[in-house]
Symmetry: C2
Subunit: 499 residues, 2 copies
């Protein structure tokens, strides 16, 4: 008992927290209660006439069903309700006239068979893909039709039945609209706006996290199986891009609601381009896939040695930072609904990507295992390999003379000793391995080298994914510009452009 | 008019096609019509008593609301309906007793305020995340409570009202259950099973498509903006992995329904491990992310030259094929509900990946621009570079003597002439470029080289993503094994293991 009491207590605390963190939910609940009270008051006040009270279910049902969280959703439901009811009413009228013509038992047979046909058709069409937004309308249609035919048949007062119901539905719908629109309205458009803004921030966090994590050589002792199956997991880096990827459905839903909403708040425009919000978010998602691939490099079994990562440190970091800056900038522009400042927002990140590219170009020998360009055991070849190595060293000598000290350090670090090679392999083997080629074959020299090369290549992969990320930003910027044009965003204030 | 007639005709044809391709939808619609007819017949047959007919809405409403596509969904709705109704009934009884104690106007005030409180609480708790499956229960609760209080208050026959309603709801629910379960049942578990099987096939198609497309140097004239924003687009390669990624929500929904379903068909087991289906699919999704990244290499602006891709042709293709084979094999095992055959299903793909790795190892000079290891304009260095090149050629000569003819061919192809270099760049510039570093800077020699190196690196990226794909298959196989254990899949028939 005390356990369930504890559970109840926890639940209450959490429910309270939910209200504190998102007061809109509390407001929604209060509005719902209010709408119901008003409707029941109206029914009481209209008098205790048999007729009304018997049908009161219609008004209450309408409120309960139509009262949705956002105004757009309420509008859609209302539209469906009205359309469904009217169609059902008209059809019921016609069929009722027909059934009255048929005498005795034939009448009921006729009614039941029309119910079957109406039920069949409406449930079938409901499944038609483009009919999804009208799903509720079909339900209302068949409900109203059945009730009218079954209940109306008894009294034969089809007209009264239909009119009373329509009045009560209108009453319920009216109360819904008034309460929902005029008391602290909750707009789906606002929610969509904030969701897209949040996506920008999330992705920026994720990108920086990936790059920094990679440079810090963050490793997962054992990759959490929740990440392996793409479920929610408490890791800011992972959650950042995951929430961007997961928001598709929510965006679509909110978009479906938002287009029904009248101009409001900061969105004072008919035909507000909500579609473009979805588009911006889609372009952002295309970037998020790259963030995911970057994270994949961190999760991977095959890891580049830390020393080599350090060589590219500043370049990688700069691309990451600039990329995150662009995202943050776009996010805050979107939040403030400002157009882009003149000048190329991508200039910095492109420069950074270019520098990374050049660095890769110069240091590409670090990304592959040049030792294994030869089959080392082949005796004639061995000589050549030595030559090659010498040449390499001279070459590097020249370069380090003309470049920074960092290069010298990287040179010494990057020439892998047999020791480090074995360490690397030992680590691979000791980790709970998801993927080891050598499960059966035992430890062989050639495999060590294979790993060595793979591990260096993974750095190349990380870098080129990062460059691809930067490339995809272009697409985000373009869709943002399209949105800002169509939605008439404000011209940027110049001093904010400086910041 | 003729236009709308045409539209209607199209619609009819499409609706007909929908029925032909998925007869379950027709069956569902027929069942729905049947259930409604049965309920209305029962209401007619029970006689035209005022009482029943007035409340007939309850039976019909129950059918319409509870009759869901799959049996699991019907069960959940039914459970919610019963729970909500009973709770509301009990609460309404108690409040009604209280309100009778209060005299005159006080009674109505009391009723309206309890409605407010009930409405507030139920709408608030409905928003609590873990309450999502009971959303419908809360709606039923508040609906029933309001109706009982408002309508019951008039006649003061709370008991009759509640009992009649309960009987009618039970009637509707009973008809629903019988029709839905005993006439051609549609199980959510079946749907989940086929969905996961389909995901395997889709991903296999996508993987092979990616590898083949990459080797054929498929290029998008202009990447469709639908792909850039991850919307549906008619491209089998893209749709393959997209459907795997998009099926998350559907899987979760079906899982939510399937756990409510009793053992049935091929799933004769209590507590069938549906959870593991979701897990397998999650692991598969983790692979699909890699397929997406592979596709990203095809979509990218920066492309590896075709000749270099050909060098790795057989290895890349083998990994792709073996990977797809594993997926197809797992998919058909899952479909037939068989355990894995003894022996390592991943052996082939791991070998293939290892070979690819070795090949990369040997040919890694093709993946980077070895020319740019030096600042080519530096005169002292130039000499060394020439030496290096000579060495390289000798080296390759040795190798080609000891290896296959393919290598000789690849050697000539792989030494990039100035021509091909410029062609590559020209192509880059002529494409509607999303991302060009040289937008402002003009064409410079160094940038040509930068592209050259980037383009070669993109091949390395593709290869290492493919290897990562192979690595992630391990995870899929493990989760499949867990599922096959828990779900007691059949032992494989030995001759199928040979195939």
């Amino acid at each position: 008992v005390s356990k369930s009491l504890k559970g109840f207590q926890d639940f209450t605390v959490k429910a309270w927290e939910m209200g504190r963190s998102d007061p809109k939910k509390v407001i929604f609940a209060i509005k719902m209660g209010l709408a119901l009270s008003i409707v029941s008051l109206l029914i009481f006040w209209k008098g205790f006439k048999e007729d009304i009270s018997q049908y009161s279910i219609w008004a209450i049902l309408t409120v309960i069903v139509m009262f949705e969280y956002s105004i757009g959703a309420t509008f859609i439901k209302g539209f469906n309700r009205v359309l469904g009811t009217i169609c059902a009413g008209i059809l019921a009228f016609s069929c009722a006239e027909l059934s009255i013509l048929a005498a005795g038992q034939g009448e009921e047979v006729l009614i039941v068979s029309t119910i079957f046909i109406a039920g069949f058709l409406s449930s079938y069409l409901r499944l038609y893909p483009t009919m999804a937004p009208y799903d509720y309308g079909f339900r209302v249609f068949i409900l109203t039709y059945c009730i009218l035919m079954v209940a109306g048949n008894r009294t034969r007062e089809y007209t009264t039945a239909v009119v009373t119901r329509l009045v009560l539905i209108a009453l319920g719908a009216g109360v819904c609209f008034v309460v929902n629109v005029f008391i602290y309205p909750i707009w789906a458009g606002d929610a969509l706006h904030s969701l897209v803004v949040k996506n920008f921030t999330d992705l920026a966090v994720s990108l920086e996290g990936c790059v920094n994590g990679y440079l810090k050589c963050v490793e997962y002792e054992r990759v959490p199986s929740k990440i392996l199956t793409f479920q929610a997991y408490d890791d800011p880096l992972y959650n950042g891009y995951r929430s961007v990827l997961e928001s598709t459905k929510r965006e679509d839903t909110l978009f479906g609601f938002a287009i029904w909403e009248p101009p409001h708040g900061r969105f004072r425009m008919f035909n507000y381009p909500w579609k473009n919000y979805v588009k911006v978010s889609g372009a952002l998602r295309h970037c998020a896939f790259m963030a995911m691939a970057l994270h994949g490099c961190i999760l991977s079994e095959i890891q580049a040695p830390a020393e080599r990562r350090q060589v590219f440190r500043s370049e990688l970091q700069r691309v990451g930072e600039e990329g995150a800056n662009v995202l943050q900038e776009l996010g805050s522009k979107l939040e403030r609904m400002e157009k882009l400042s003149p000048g190329d927002i991508l200039k910095e990140v492109h420069e950074a990507a270019e520098q990374l590219q050049k660095k890769i170009d110069q240091k590409s020998y670090l990304l592959v295992n040049s030792e294994s360009w030869e089959i080392a055991r082949h005796p004639q070849v061995f000589q050549d390999l030595e030559n090659l190595k010498e040449n390499e060293n001279t070459m590097l000598g020249f370069k380090s003379a003309s470049e920074a000290v960092l290069d010298l350090r990287s040179l010494t670090l990057s020439t892998p000793s047999k020791d480090s090679q074995h360490n690397l392999f030992a680590k691979e083997a000791s980790r709970p391995s998801c993927f080891s080629f050598n499960a059966d074959a035992g430890i062989e020299e050639s495999e060590c080298r294979s790993y060595e090369s793979a591990s260096a290549l993974s750095l190349a992969t990380f870098a080129s994914l990062l460059i691809e990320f930067a490339a995809r930003l272009q697409n985000v910027v373009e869709s943002f510009e399209e949105l800002s044009e169509k939605a008439n965003f404000a011209e940027p204030i110049m001093n904010s452009a400086v910041v």
